[in-house]
Symmetry: C2
Subunit: 340 residues, 2 copies
């Protein structure tokens, strides 16, 4: 039985960088027993105690330390090294979603060996990847990909909520993980942003083909954004390689430009709908089937008003499935997707 200690030093309070921590705590199959952040000891994160050090966490009997930050570029902040070393020295396994592979670090590898711990780099690409074979157009599952106006606005959570809702209705529904947090949550998947660039679409195809072996309604975790100047390549490769039938467009209400990049404005939602449908492959003309809004800046009344305004503006069903549950959006989606 895996019991996670989430390492979130300096980031446990940050909605962007703390997304791995929060994602695993909210959606993971394995329990999170404590969070390490020396800046917030004694507080809690969604009910899980925050402690100052790995040593302080050991009374909660963790088995596995998870590097719970996702930094731009995927590199590990320098002061983290001591934290990782203390986790390994305590005999904890280490799971990391950094681009910088911890298992390739001779010092950490030796420490792991010494203490009988295992290092698992969640972003390490599997062997044998290549370009797509065309199988992505041949399986029988319905594929629904989340796309978005920006990174880190909740695409993964939307896919997870819709999958959960569909499973609760008895459907053979599958969440298809494409990033390090999704992999930590679901226990399988490929971090498509970490494969050799030529093989993004091939990795995405492999994921949907595997997903189609697990169920017949696939919710593919989206990555990045077509309009994000850093990550658009991964976004389009994932889109074309996963060959979705439908898209759920995610947007954080109030965002007018890409986070931290005011030179990169976000177009209107109708424009984003059109852009995403325009760039679909003719062999699989995907349609936006609904909008998932992140309304965290608004109160409940404000959120409901924003959702209604977006429905009027786009003519498409919209909701905040994380805040209000997936039911309403799922009704609208299944009305078009069924019979699966």
């Amino acid at each position: 039985m895996k019991r996670y200690l989430v390492l979130a030093e300096g980031y446990s309070d940050d909605p962007h960088y703390g997304k791995t921590a929060r994602g695993v705590m909210r959606y993971g199959a394995d329990p999170v027993v404590a969070v390490v952040d020396s800046e917030r000891p004694g507080e809690d994160l969604d009910g899980v105690p925050v402690v100052a050090t790995v040593e302080d966490a050991l009374i909660h009997e963790p088995t596995t330390a998870l590097v719970g930050v996702a930094t731009a570029g995927g590199r590990l902040p320098g002061k983290w090294r001591a934290i990782l070393e203390s986790a390994l020295a305590a005999g904890l396994d280490l799971e990391s979603g950094m681009h910088q592979f911890l298992g390739d670090d001779p010092g950490l590898a030796a420490l792991a060996e010494q203490h009988g711990a295992e290092i698992r780099d969640l972003r390490r690409a599997p062997s044998g990847l290549s370009v797509p074979t065309g199988e992505n157009l041949k399986h029988d599952a319905i594929v629904i990909l989340t796309v978005g106006s920006d990174c880190a606005i909740g695409k993964m959570s939307v896919s997870l909520e819709l999958d959960r809702g569909a499973r609760e209705r008895g459907l053979e529904s599958v969440f298809v993980p494409t990033g390090q947090t999704g992999i930590a949550i679901a226990g399988w998947g490929i971090a498509v942003d970490a494969v050799v660039a030529d093989f993004i679409a091939g990795a995405a195809e492999r994921l949907v083909v595997e997903g189609a072996g697990r169920g017949d309604l696939l919710w593919v975790e989206g990555q990045g954004s077509l309009i994000h100047p850093d990550y658009s390549g991964v976004t389009l490769g994932l889109y074309h390689g996963s060959a979705p039938h439908f898209l759920v467009l995610c947007h954080q209400v109030g965002d007018e430009h890409i986070q931290d990049l005011p030179a990169h404005p976000i177009p209107s939602l109708p424009e984003l709908v059109e852009l995403h449908e325009r760039i679909a492959l003719p062999a699989r003309p995907a349609k936006v089937i609904g909008l998932a809004l992140n309304t965290r800046r608004l109160d409940d009344d404000g959120a409901r008003a924003a959702i209604e305004a977006v429905e009027r503006e786009t003519g498409l069903p919209a909701d905040d499935p994380v805040r209000f549950g997936p039911g309403r959006l799922l009704d609208a989606i299944l009305a078009r997707v069924s019979p699966v």
Copy 2:
């Protein structure tokens, strides 16, 4: 002084897979003294003798064997191993553009060491890559990227021809290599299809920033196609990361679908122009400035008629700069770009 022996076993006659061989022969600074292809000994490739084996090539005094094929997925056909071994055993350096790094092969590495030869993997990513910093929007150079309706239709050759023409006019013009053949030709660059997927745009930014240090008119070698189901992610990452001011849209006249993939039709050229301009970042709204047509299937009259038809259809200047020289297209481009 480098003297290339191009290894093109089984592929020297193939316009798609032989593109590395032909590119280096036509545009490289270093001479190609022979081509190895046991299926065509005694013939010649653009005036360079084709021989059956590496041993037969040694009378031409090569210094460096170049793996002159670019296979889908970038892996090396099995029978090639013996050819590589004989090149290293003859003391030749080995340059390769495969995704599969030859320098990581213990047997080949040992053979190279034994015979004083060096293995250079042209696609190996430099260290320290990350996401873009924004420098791609700040330098003073004009950036012109080739994009296309498909792979392997001549985007690199078009960039090379336009660069050559501009340099002949005395402009501070630079070809910016983004793939293994361009790197072999120009002696610098990054194979953007071989970097970690998250860093495509960052690698592209690094290339244009380096290019802006070398000159003020940059011709960035395009990769893949926005509508290619395998490579579109690399294409969009390169596009957004290189942040071009202008695009030259390349198309092979007569192609109606992606090569070998009849399920993937090529839209009309006006639609492709609109799609490429539509997906530009608002911070750098790139315009298609002209069309470069590959007219190899037509005779001269047919080619000229096709070019005129495309000019009428799109309202943009068009030519086949490889067949007819870069002058006419360059005139049209510089009329809009100047003063640089």
